[in-house]
Amino acid sequence: MAKPKPKMVTVYIMGEAFEVPEGSTIITALEYVGFQLKKGVGCREGFCGACATVYREKGDHKLKGGLACQTVVKDGMVISQIPFVPAEKPVYDIEELEPNIDTIKEFYPEVFRCVACNTCTKACPQEIKVMDYIQALKRGDIARAADLSFDCIRCGLCALRCPAEIVQYNAAMLAQRLYGRYLAKKSEELDRRIEEIKEGKYDKELDKLMKMDKRELSELYYSREIKL
């Protein structure tokens, strides 16, 4: 089957009209018309949050947010990229913190000004219930905030739209680290294995493996027991 000739649509990049193939993402549309991107682009697969974009669709007054690498252009779309959000990130020593509401109050007092308007949730391209995790933080429920915010890629669109000037994604980062460091139950097996390695339990066997030639290793490898 021959590659079908693409239908073209008109998009407005920073207000200026360009013709691009239908089905393009915002990133590929920008490149199609001749931009060599340096900012507002990153992993190109929806994991890094570098390509936050604000756009408006034809006939609609609402400003929407999306990731440029994941959002398909529509005819008449008006696009403006936001490569950087000048949000504050307080400095802390994770070893000195306690996983409770006072820590949230100390570093992110603005969280408590949340007016529960849900604008952040609507702005999130990751479908995260942003307002819900902010509410959890207000209650000091670090575990729930960490869980709800887990898929955050820190694109910054929530913070840009927030009327209470909350930097949701940085507060989420703190909650996640507090959870991982203090609230998650620790693995005894892991500690035991670290001890065993330190004591040199595996050294002899590893010494032996390191001296083996390819043939010996191969025999051992293909005959090893597989328990999955």
Partner: protein, 557 residues
């Protein structure tokens, strides 16, 4: 959503599904015979892209001259510098630091944190933003032998067998024995791993592993790790300074042959800077954006092997640059996500690869090169692939099995990224299979290091994908995430040790660049071949033809 003719093939997948479910319930992942050593060798020889006659050629410059390497790598290395060394006055510098770390993925971030903890002043330089890296995009997991039925010895065997026994033994040992401690370190920094109610780690099998050893953080494992490391770097502003949007384009050596700094280039202001350092750690990642053999890639926009180029020019030797990893499951449909990663963990948790008639044809968890070769055979020699409207071919990965075998909600809980990726294009992966084909994923080889992350050049350290030797000629799932942490930390630590033992910086020089260029010139290479590339260029030809005064520094073609 899929067009009608593809749905016809999906019907066949649905028809064979009940029998395959029975098989999986009976045999777990063992639903198809694993290949023997001979079978593996044969399928690789016949179908793996590395084994094509045209895949490699002899490298004609530098310390590895005469060795066969991947053709695109040879083109990249046989290139001129972006700068004229004579334009630089190296008796003055813009930055003076103990350790210069180049690249801000998980290896560079780990190295920075550890070097700082060991009393060093660190300058962390990246050509995009902190954390912009392949590390951030890793989905499936990180290996470490911490389970009671597992051991570093078994991990060692898996790593070296998967790598065709070409791995450097001391590096494999470092990888597997540091593994559990690396996980502990990450957790203490606040990484949220998937855990069982008793606090033990939730683990899954991976391709080529003999035990369940894959630790995960949903299917955002790389992001969960990398964002914590980045946050920790932000938390150390006194010890770690960072500079973004600045590419390192050459290393600086002194008259004793030590690496003592680098030249940086700011992408937007186009200003160059001179950086003086007592040690340099390269953590620049791999080469996915070279699109070797025209393959799509899972890699970050910045994966252009810059570190490889500058280290090689400075005289560091390379290992296994004849070997490329194609991840078996890159997305083929829809067109917008062509080549994107579909994590191996999907197969770990029961998704089965099947052909257009819904038939099983391979054990789902062979090492990556073998699995990829089997997919290619199915689509080429056997003609059992499914074509997309854009003339791309792939085989089905039967993802609805995951919820069927592990309980409803498993996909939602363990694969939020995957489910979201396809949902954005109206495909529900709990109801429909996804179409996949091998995609360019990982640079198996790189700059040779030892277990202290040292290169053949004093003062130069390498960690992560840019290094060579850890994974031999084929890396297993979850070992790159571990590699980043293990060798990132080692690089930071040993660079600090090296500096503490007393480093005297002599007269700084770019003479090695001139010498290297003489070799390139003698080959008659065209002056338009410039590296490092820094960023790929995806502007279509008809547009580029009109950009008559634009600079396409480093464009390969």
């Amino acid at each position: 959503m899929y067009p009608d003719y593809m749905l016809e093939s999906i019907k066949k997948v649905e028809e064979t599904r009940p029998k395959r479910i029975e098989l999986a319930k009976l045999k777990g992942t063992q639903i198809f015979p694993r290949m023997t050593e001979e079978e593996r060798e044969e399928i690789l020889r016949k179908f793996h892209p590395d084994y094509k006659e045209t895949a490699k050629r002899e490298l004609r410059v530098g310390v590895n001259k005469g060795e066969k390497v991947t053709k695109e790598v040879a083109e990249l290395l046989e290139s001129y510098a972006r700068i004229n060394p004579d334009d630089f006055d190296l008796t003055e510098w813009d930055y003076d630091t103990d350790v210069l770390v180049v690249g801000a993925g998980s290896a560079g971030l780990s190295a920075s944190i550890i070097a700082a903890q060991n009393g060093m002043n660190v300058l962390l330089v990246t050509k995009l933003r902190l954390g912009d890296s392949n590390s951030m995009m890793a989905q499936g997991g990180i290996q470490a032998a911490d389970q009671p039925d597992d051991s570093p010895v078994l991990h060692y065997l898996d790593v070296i067998g998967g790598g065709h026994f070409d791995n450097k033994p001391e590096l494999v040992r470092a990888l597997v024995t540091d593994g559990p401690d690396a996980i502990k370190w990450l957790e203490e920094l606040g990484v949220m791993f998937d855990k069982n109610p008793d606090g033990s780690m939730m683990v899954a099998p991976g391709g080529g592993t003999c035990r369940k050893r894959m630790h995960s953080a949903r299917d955002y494992t790389g992001a969960a790790i990398c964002r914590v490391l980045r946050d920790e770097v932000y938390n150390n502003p006194d010890k770690i300074k960072y500079v973004e949007y600045t590419a390192i384009v050459e290393l600086i050596k002194d008259d004793s042959g030590q690496v003592v700094g680098a030249i940086g280039y700011h992408l937007e202001t186009k200003k160059y800077c001179v950086i003086r350092a007592k040690a340099v750690i390269i953590a620049t990642g791999g080469f996915g954006r070279l699109h070797i053999q025209g393959f799509e890639t899972t890699n970050h926009y910045g994966a252009t092997a810059d570190g490889l180029v500058i280290a090689y020019r400075a005289g560091a030797n390379l290992l296994y640059m004849d070997s490329v990893q194609y991840h078996p499951t890159g997305a083929v449909f829809p067109q917008q996500i062509l080549g994107f990663l579909c994590t191996e963990k999907l197969r770990s948790l029961g998704a089965q690869p099947v052909n257009k008639d819904g038939e099983l044809f391979v054990y789902p968890l062979e090492p990556r090169d073998v699995e990829a070769a089997a997919f290619i055979r199915e689509c080429t020699e056997r003609g059992k692939g499914v074509y997309t409207p854009y003339d791309r071919v792939g085989i089905w990965l039967d993802t609805p099995l995951i919820d069927i075998l592990n309980g409803e909600g498993t996909v939602a809980k363990k694969f939020p990224a995957m489910a979201r990726q396809f949902r954005r294009f109206d495909i529900d992966i709990t109801r429909y299979p996804i179409l996949v084909y091998p995609t360019l994923h990982y640079q198996n080889g790189g700059i040779e290091i030892n277990d202290r992350a040292e290169t053949s050049l004093p003062g130069l350290y390498v960690a992560g994908e840019a290094s060579g030797g850890v994974h031999g000629r084929n890396r297993l799932m979850g070992n790159s995430q571990l590699d980043l942490i293990v060798f990132g930390r080692r690089a930071g630590f040993y660079a600090a040790e090296h500096i503490k033992s007393g480093v005297k910086i002599g007269r700084m020089s770019l003479e090695h660049v001139k010498e290297y260029e003489k070799e390139v010139e003698a080959l008659g290479v065209d002056r338009s071949h410039i590296a490092p590339i820094i960023l790929p260029n995806y502007i279509p030809d008809h547009v580029r033809a009109k950009q008559k005064t634009a600079e396409y520094f480093g464009t390969l073609l």
